[in-house]
């Protein structure tokens, strides 16, 4: 399978939990803006916890859809590692941005 097709599939999978994940990331950024670095550890653990919940929810309620990706050659481990990695990168990037913009 061609690279753009793989990216398209990964984004489709990411979209299945993006609407849950984005508000969490935004709330974390907001809290970081308010309270600063003392709560960084708490925010990181909170984000990881919600990622764990997402993983469990999708694995339970959308497990049928994994056959779609498998039939196209995308293993579950690749789907999860790329999308959760992307999600975490977005979270870190937003916190860095918040840190830099904060007066």
């Amino acid at each position: 399978m061609k690279f753009p097709a793989i990216i398209r599939l990964l984004l489709t999978f990411y979209k299945s939990f993006f609407l849950f994940s984005l508000p969490i990331t935004l709330i974390c950024a907001l809290l970081y803006w308010e309270y600063g670095s003392p709560i960084l550890k708490v925010l990181a653990w909170f984000k990881l916890l919600t990622q764990g919940l997402t993983w469990n929810f999708i694995r339970t309620y959308k497990k049928k859809e994994f056959y779609y990706y498998r039939n196209l050659g995308l293993r579950d481990t690749i789907l999860w590692s790329v999308t959760l990695g992307l999600d975490l990168s977005g979270f870190i990037l937003l916190l860095i941005l918040t840190h830099q913009l904060h007066p």
Partner: protein, 228 residues
């Protein structure tokens, strides 16, 4: 060139209850292999074990593919073990008995993902002319099923396994699916199971029956035996 998919030495238990114990099944390219059995005999489990996504006590699944074997090599048995076929869609694809396509996708997008021409789907099933940009979740159960069958059967692969393809379809749609299977068996091997036995007999070149954890090659029922 003919390829053979062999599944044997498969053992599966649910708790203390043995489900599969003496399995030997072969599927050849250019042929349709039927699999029959009552509810709960393990047909779906067997397909999932062949596909590699259901753990079991023991499992041997091999693919005879002499093209990829170096004759100077001592491994000239032509049998390539397939520990995780679900990672090799060019060898095996599997259609489960439920809709597996994400609801947010459209028939057009699905065909693109599977490298298929949407016009092929539309000419086989004209109702999709107006549905090509419709989300899958908005389609009827039968239409979803048709898409599932079409993409798995038509996409390029050496073998496909279809779990209950005829269920949920109308008689006209079933006839169309049978025609597609007949056409596609020229390019691949097809393993198929369904509760609608007559359709399995109609399309299959050989039929296995799964009972008491064992597979046996079965002859078609004669008109006389059907009356009994």
């Amino acid at each position: 060139m003919t390829h053979t998919l062999t599944a044997k030495d498969i053992r599966l238990k649910f708790g203390d209850r043995p489900i599969l114990s003496d399995i030997h099944i072969q599927c050849h390219t250019g042929r349709i292999t039927g699999l029959l059995g009552r509810n709960g005999t393990g047909k779906t489990s067997l397909m999932r074990i062949i596909y590699g996504d259901l753990p079991c006590d023991s499992r041997t699944v091999t693919l005879d593919d002499s093209r990829t074997i170096n004759l100077d090599d001592s491994r000239t048995q032509n049998n390539i073990p397939l520990p995780r076929p679900y990672t090799q869609p060019d060898r095996i694809r599997y259609m489960p008995q439920f809709n597996f396509v994400p609801g947010s996708l459209t028939p057009e997008r699905i065909c693109r993902d599977f490298n298929l021409d949407i016009r092929g789907l539309e000419s086989a099933f004209p109702e999709f002319h107006t549905l090509r940009r419709q989300h899958i979740r908005e389609l009827s159960t039968g239409q979803r099923r048709l898409i599932n069958i079409y993409i798995i059967t038509r996409s390029s692969s050496q073998f496909v396994m279809l779990d209950e393809p005829f269920t949920l379809l109308s008689p006209i749609q079933i006839e169309k699916v049978k025609a597609i299977l007949e056409e596609e068996k020229q390019n691949k091997g097809i393993l198929i199971t369904d509760h609608l036995h007559q359709h399995i007999w109609d399309v299959s070149d050989e039929v296995y029956t799964l009972a008491d954890g064992r597979t046996r090659i079965t002859s078609p029922p004669t008109p006389k035996s059907r009356m009994l």
